[in-house]
């Protein structure tokens, strides 16, 4: 065994590649960790020795090796990813075991493990530890190769793997992808050649080696062997060097991302170091492309999450790509890596578009256009609302103000419930700030939020009802409204119904309702059932194919500041026809903006939930 030097010229590409890979990755991770803001570092310190770490380990195995989430998207796609990840991982681990089994505790350099077959021709390859390593390694190689075959197939027919569209590649991706495709076939050839010459090898390498030897003169066989090992090493080296600069950076980055996320780190309103982990954990698998309505209905194909993240990663992000997104959240829900792309997009918008608040909304100071039967003028806020338990305020929001039918319905329902309501903005008010926030103007948006907070507090309300999911979300996420319960009107109606303050009568006109989930209400605030429960109480309800968590966006999302009217209309029409296909006689939604958008997109009548509830109120209580 003394002749086992574990060195040959062909290992150089591999050694160089590996060194570069680990150097770059270490450099990147160190840099990002060091630059984490103080609060994030505190989270890391707190999280390291907590249960979160254990959970992170399990998640890493489940996602990075087994690709559980991709299996859920499509089993074939899942198999492909698992074959590469788990297969390769096992090749390494089992390879390690093989070395240990045959060479004992002896220190073997890295290339010794990787090119084990080449350097250990002098060994007898009888099973050790009761394991036929050659057969197992061949099996694993076959497993990975089957994944590779699927990947090739996907390039030709992505639809079969559940993807209508796949991502377009960058140069780095192309280099990495090409070298990756060569790694395992080269390994097969190299190991087979050596096995053939030395009469070793498992069921795969052994038999392929035998076939090679029998068809080739011995002299050419020797040079073929050398060439194959060179090819294998070069493929590995090139892949390793290109990996940190390509989408394959995700292979490693997903792991720290999982840990950091488990420890509570999140992307925020402004760009920060943690974003790098999210960005480089994106494999550009393209799962985000198919659900995107911008792509599907508006013909916009360069803004999807994968492309946005790619452009941002390489510093090529344009305003158009950052802005031209509905932020409906359909892609985010499906991301196998769980990247919070909306948060990333928002902080990109902040960097690209944010301008100093600069007192530009000072004109709202001291304004109060609210109305209500008893406007409270208290000395101190705290005393104010403790004195006025149960006082309900209604904030219509800009969009509801353009939908008088909703306003009128609210008025009727409030009256039916005997609610004494304070109307925050019936005569026009100050915008909730979410549109501004969504456009990246975070600081300026805060001015508006502070204004409305002050207004709500001054009037001592304890329940804030809104008919607009856009406002609802910002009230819940960004407003400091301790002591004030924020309800969407659907939740509020549900409560009135359960408390017996209103009663609804089912209609018998044979009408069939279909409910459209507004993005901000469903995926945004997790409210799916409240509106449905109310609708169930009054009529039969049908669901479109894509509903609830997968519900379509109406296309007029306030989050997209770029999309021209024609695109909005195209999406609205597509959504309209999805509803027409259900056979519904009426579409009901719970967002004034969705209502306007859908009204343009279909000939079916479109109503807000409030209108339906009003229509079915039992007058005599």
């Amino acid at each position: 065994m003394a002749e086992m030097t574990f060195y040959s010229g062909f290992v150089i590409p591999f050694i160089v590649g590996t060194s570069v890979l680990f150097a770059v990755i270490l450099y990147k991770y160190m840099r990002w960790m060091v630059r984490l803001p103080r609060e994030d570092k505190r989270l890391v310190r707190r999280g390291v020795f907590s249960r979160a770490t254990a959970e992170a380990i399990w998640e890493s195995v489940a996602e990075c090796l087994l690709h559980r989430r991709i299996w859920k998207v499509n089993p074939l796609l899942g198999y492909m990813h698992t074959a590469f990840a788990l297969g390769w991982f096992l090749l390494i681990v089992v390879g390690w075991a093989e070395t240990a089994a045959y060479l004992g505790g002896r220190l073997v350099p890295l290339q010794g493990h990787i090119f084990f077959k080449y350097f250990t021709t002098s060994l007898d390859h009888a099973p050790r530890w009761g394991v036929d390593f050659e057969a197992v390694m061949d099996l694993l190689l076959l497993y990975v190769l089957s994944g590779l075959a699927l990947a090739l197939f996907k390039r030709i027919r992505s639809r079969a793997l559940g993807m209508r569209r796949t991502t377009r590649l960058t140069f780095g991706d192309r280099v990495a992808l090409t070298s990756l495709w060569f790694v395992f076939p080269m390994r097969l050839l190299a190991e087979s050649a050596t096995s053939g010459i030395y009469g070793s090898g498992g069921f795969l390498t052994g038999s392929l080696g035998g076939a090679l030897v029998s068809t080739m003169p011995a002299a050419s066989m020797a040079s073929f062997e050398t060439a194959a090992w060179w090819g294998y090493s070069v493929a590995l080296g090139v892949f390793f060097v290109s990996m940190p600069f390509s989408r394959y950076m995700h292979i490693f980055t997903e792991v720290p991302l999982i840990f950091l996320r488990r420890w509570g780190l999140r992307s925020g309103e402004t760009e920060k170091s943690f974003d790098h982990f999210q960005i480089e954990a994106c494999s550009r698998c393209g799962v985000c492309i198919d659900p995107c309505q911008m792509q599907r209905d508006a013909g916009v194909t360069n803004v999807q999450a994968a492309y946005f993240i790619r452009d941002r990663r390489y510093g090529k992000l344009t305003r158009e790509v950052a802005d031209n997104c509905l932020m409906c959240g359909r892609c985010e829900g499906r991301c196998p890596v769980g990247i919070g792309v909306n948060a990333l997009r928002l902080n990109s918008r902040h960097s690209l578009n944010g301008t100093p608040a600069d007192g530009r909304y000072d004109y709202v100071k001291g304004l109060d256009t609210s109305t209500g039967s008893r406007v409270f003028e208290g000395a101190g806020c705290e005393i104010g609302y403790s004195m006025k338990q149960g006082r309900v305020g209604f904030y219509a929001g800009c969009m509801t103000l353009l939908s008088p039918r909703i306003l009128k319905a609210m008025e009727v329902i409030f009256a039916a419930a005997g609610e004494d309501v304070w109307w925050a903005d019936r005569n026009g008010g100050v915008c909730c700030g979410r549109p501004l926030k969504l456009s990246g103007d975070v600081e300026a948006a805060r001015d508006m939020m502070r204004f409305n907070e002050g207004l709500f507090r001054r009037h001592g309300i304890t329940v804030l009802v809104t008919s607009c999911p856009i406002c609802l979300r910002v009230f819940r996420e960004d407003y400091a409204l301790e002591g004030i319960e924020v309800l969407h009107h659907s939740e509020y109606f549900e409560r009135l119904l359960s408390e017996g303050r209103i009663a609804l009568s089912a209609s018998d006109d044979g009408g069939l309702l279909a409910y459209h989930d507004p993005c901000e209400l469903g995926r945004g605030c997790g409210i799916y059932n409240a509106p449905r429960n109310l609708l169930h109480a009054v009529a039969d309800l049908v669901e479109p194919t894509e509903t609830r968590e997968n519900a379509l966006c109406c296309g007029s999302s306030i989050a997209n500041i770029h999309l021209p009217g024609a695109g909005q209309l195209a999406i609205g029409r597509a959504v309209g026809s999805a509803f027409e296909a259900t056979g519904a006689t009426e579409i009901v939604t719970a967002c004034p903006l969705c209502k306007k958008a859908l009204t343009r997109g279909t000939d079916l009548p479109v109503s807000d939930l409030a209108e339906v509830v009003e229509r079915h109120l039992k007058v005599a209580r």
Binding site: L401, P404, L407, K408, L569, K596, R600
Partner: protein
């Protein structure tokens, strides 16, 4: 065969039928409602001359009666081919046309004149104007009806002290997929504003417009009279919102664009000058006749200049507002013109 089917018994259809009869053919008017006259039945006085609509209607009816034109009421045309399929050009060229009627009937003819007219835009789609939400929001069609019924009044029967007309409701508005100009609403709103003045000498009357399009003979003069004699105020700005006031009136918001400042005002009565939408059957006719539709949904004439009553399909002709918003006068002219084209077409076939 001398039979010619005229689809629609409005002004254009009636005029076409009378002219066809005079030319020795056998027109049959197929009308889906219970009487001839189309929307002319709902109008009060016609712009710009204030001629009572009844006069024009009676004249047409009398002419149809005198000519003994066959009329099928309560009958709807389901398609321009017997089974709703694509037509066979050979049959058409051979002078054979058959249309599918409601109730499974078929009617054969040598030619067809489509005079199916237009639909009135549904103002409740412009929710922000409050039609069918607030009691005192009306459309110009409602006002014509009220005038016919003998009086314009608020929902509680009282007289309005302030009336505002909103132009371009359901016209020139991509938000309701109506990009075209309906052309007649400006002059209708001006005419009605003047009628309001006559009814309510003390009222304030306002017209909110984007552009005033007075394209016809005597229209511009009518506009000037509305300003000068009828004291109608014209404000250049599109009303964007209507909301109720505490005293049951309607507050509207617009920008006075000539001054450059937003404005609001409360009115007792809001009248929406509704536009003309493509007739609901246009799509069906185009599909079954293999004819073209304009982007705005009206039937597309073969040529805007020399073939405005031709469909491009042999034996099928158009008249009136089936192809675009038109005035009564224009519809009547096209009725006659379509009849001429039918006669010429059949003559050519006979040769």
């Amino acid at each position: 065969m001398k039979r010619v089917i005229v689809i629609g018994g409005g002004p254009a259809g009636m005029q076409a039928a009378v002219a066809l009869k005079a030319a020795g053919l056998e027109p049959v008017i197929v009308e889906r409602s219970d009487a001839l006259g189309g929307k002319l039945r709902d109008w009060h006085n016609l712009f710009p001359s204030a001629t009572p609509a009844r006069e024009v209607l009676d004249g047409l009816r009398k002419a149809v009666e005198m000519a003994r034109v066959e009329v099928l009421l309560h009958t709807e045309v389901e398609g321009l081919t017997p089974d709703g399929s694509k037509p066979s050009v050979e049959v058409a060229l051979a002078g054979g046309h058959a249309v599918q009627l409601s109730g499974g009937r078929k009617l054969e003819a040598a030619a067809v004149v489509v005079a199916s007219g237009f639909d009135v835009f549904d103002a409740s789609l412009k929710e922000e104007y409050g039609y069918r939400i607030y009691d005192n929001v009306f459309t110009t069609v409602d006002v014509e009806r009220m005038l016919n019924e003998g009086g314009v009044a608020l929902a509680d029967g009282s007289a309005p002290r302030r009336v505002a007309f909103v132009h371009c409701v359901g016209s020139r508005d991509e938000k309701v997929n109506q990009k075209h100009c309906s052309k007649v609403c400006c002059v209708t709103a001006v005419k009605q504003a003047m009628e309001m003045r006559a009814l309510f000498p003390e009222a304030d009357i306002y017209n909110f417009y984007m552009d005033i399009r007075m394209f016809g003979p005597g229209y511009e003069e009518l506009y000037q009279r509305a300003q000068q004699e009828s004291r109608v105020n014209f404000i250049r700005g599109r009303v964007s919102e209507a909301s109720p006031t505490i005293d049951g009136r309607i507050q509207i918001k617009a920008e006075d664009t000539l001054v450059g400042r937003p404005m609001k005002m409360s009115v007792d009565m809001l009248v929406l000058a509704v536009g003309m939408k493509a007739g609901s059957s246009c799509e069906k006719f185009a599909r079954t006749a293999d004819a073209a539709l304009s982007p705005n949904g009206f039937l597309a004439p073969a040529d805007l200049f020399s073939g405005c009553v031709a469909s491009g399909v042999p034996g099928v002709f158009y008249a009136g507002a089936a192809t675009a918003p038109k005035t009564i006068g224009e519809s009547l002219a096209e009725g006659s013109m379509a009849a001429c084209w039918v006669v010429e077409y059949l003559d050519t076939l006979a040769k």
